[in-house]
Amino acid sequence: MAGGGGEGELNLVPYLDIMLNLIMFLLVVTAYIVELREAPVLVPSLVGEGGSPPSDAEKKGFLSVTVSPRALSVICSLDTVPPIELLRKGASLPYPDLTKVLRQLKETQNLEEALQIVADPSTPYSEVVATMDAARSDSKGDLFPGIQLALAASQ
């Protein structure tokens, strides 16, 4: 980058033009880049962490949300919570209703922080992600941030 005077000096103006164009191009392209994020999912654990099994009094319930073409179903491992089915409304599944149900269950039941999403193999990936969003959090805060994915065994 040596500069300096003199009549035999390299003409920097064309280089400056090229650089300016390149910088403007890169800055404009930046505006059109899609912002990407990540949604971590947990691997279902088949074996316990060890130690003695919890007693019935301290046993926490585990929620499972099933995604099918017809409805969203919420199933809890606790006997006191009956299965809840949320039928599809029009083109999309009732994700806001699912969020309300999960919030109500979280506030009234003793539940694990993790939640399992079971989906039909033909379910579009976008519906699984939308279900994860509905289960992760709502306006009041976190719901079930730990999400496990599982495949519907009956299919």
Binding site: I23, L26, E35, L36, E38, D120, S122, P124, Q155
Partner: protein, 180 residues
């Protein structure tokens, strides 16, 4: 008298013109003294910085009609990891095509071992990372897999890919989504 006055006036005018030309040259000499080298340095640094940022960005993923991740409210930023991309036409591992897809199903010459190439590519990637880590005494294999899938991908296919990744010792899956 008139001719003499006219001659004097011409002389004065010629002197003024010469003076103005000299003055303009003097001023111009000041303007041409602008140093472009500093500007060139700034531009070069900016350019190198932008190119470096673009090249190193982990989210440097080319999206198109065949690969459009679903929109989500997931808050996590992208972390660098081994990347599996499931588009409408192919499955790639770190930008190398390992399987071809048609209508959401794997096109394989050996139906009994449909996911063999994917499993092999993932295992090779894990072995490479471990070997490099041993040689450079780096942090080692962290077991993180970045999954970039099209929003219309059947969940069954995604689950199969995650299953193959689990067999290749990947323990943490991160689904890449578009920020809503």
């Amino acid at each position: 008298m008139t001719e003499q006055t006219q001659a004097e006036l011409d002389t004065i005018s010629a002197n003024d013109d010469e003076f103005m030309i000299r003055r303009r040259r003097h001023v111009d000499a000041g303007i041409t003294g602008l140093n472009l080298t500093a500007m060139m340095d700034v531009m070069t640094i900016l350019l190198v910085y932008l190119i470096k940022v673009f090249a190193d960005a982990p989210q440097n993923i080319t999206l198109n009609d065949d690969l459009r991740p679903p929109a989500s409210t997931a808050p996590d930023n992208i972390v660098p990891a081994v990347r599996v991309m499931i588009s409408n036409g192919a499955i790639t591992v770190d930008d190398k095509t390992v399987l071809t897809l048609k209508n959401g199903e794997v096109v394989a010459s050996d139906p009994k071992n449909r996911y063999g190439p994917l499993s092999g590519a993932l295992q090779k990637r894990v072995d490479d990372i471990k070997a490099i880590s041993q040689r450079t005494k780096g942090p080692g294999f962290d077991g993180i897999l970045m999954v970039v899938a099209d929003e219309d991908t059947p969940y069954g296919l995604l689950a199969d890919v995650l299953s193959q990744a689990g067999r290749a010792q990947f323990t943490s899956y991160r689904l890449t989504v578009r920020h809503k």
